[in-house]
Subunit: 129 residues, 2 copies
Amino acid sequence: MSNQSGSLAGALAACCSPLAEEPLGPARAVELARAFKALGDPARLRLLSLIASHPGGEACVCDVSDGFDLAGPTISHHLKVLREAGLISGERRGTWVYYRADPGALGRLSDLLAIAGSGAAQPPEAASA
Amino acid sequence: MSNQSGSLAGALAACCSPLAEEPLGPARAVELARAFKALGDPARLRLLSLIASHPGGEACVCDVSDGFDLAGPTISHHLKVLREAGLISGERRGTWVYYRADPGALGRLSDLLAIAGSGAAQPPEAASA
DNA sequence: TCGCTGTATCGACGAACGTCAAAGCAAGAG
DNA sequence: CTCTTGCTTTGACGTTCGTCGATACAGCGA
């Protein structure tokens, strides 16, 4: 399990001019879409939030499972999706498995949207709308 | 068509403490997930980027369709998904329909991830673990 | 008016997704 | 070693999604 079992190891690492700066090539779009798709489920969004907001910055599955109406395997599945998207990493310590959010990956996704939201290609409606 | 035909009109408007600050309630998770899901497709990501990066901040469907291997109806479908997610808005001017990215919606999604990526719940891995 | 071009909706198909129960593996307790 | 607990994997089911062709609508020009 270690870090990421998936494919995007470096996908979010070598990131990307902001959305509005240049058209975003097909290949990069595929990798970024995989990350956003991982965020595109309420359960995963809550899991990620729960992990990121947990004291110490990490949470074990047992901490996180309470408050969900989902079966154990489903939780595990969602955590795997987040892991393979490079958004969290998991580590087994004794009996329990601890997950932790990846600040870098989240930050890069944030940057991708941020600049688009504030700066580039300045919509002429500057102050309006 | 006007602005958003969909459901999230205000969903992204009244946004949200950052991901790592507090656990993100179920209801809000559903609405945010809808936005991220809209970003979770390579074609839509490229479309959004193409629109956002287009000179003037807006692009008509014809501008955007070139360079895609997708049929017309499919492009139209993806634009509709982005529109219903509140990420773009469309306006018909004569024969053509022009789309424009919504900086506010993108910015709020960005903020949601940004703080999580930099600040809160500071992972103590610095010294501990 | 008719026809043409640009865009959207409809209906259908295959693929991917979210979910669960059952079974499997890892680690500690007895 | 065996049992129990925590988590993951497997296999299956129904639903949603991405894609397309056919069709319909909107606006312009002849």
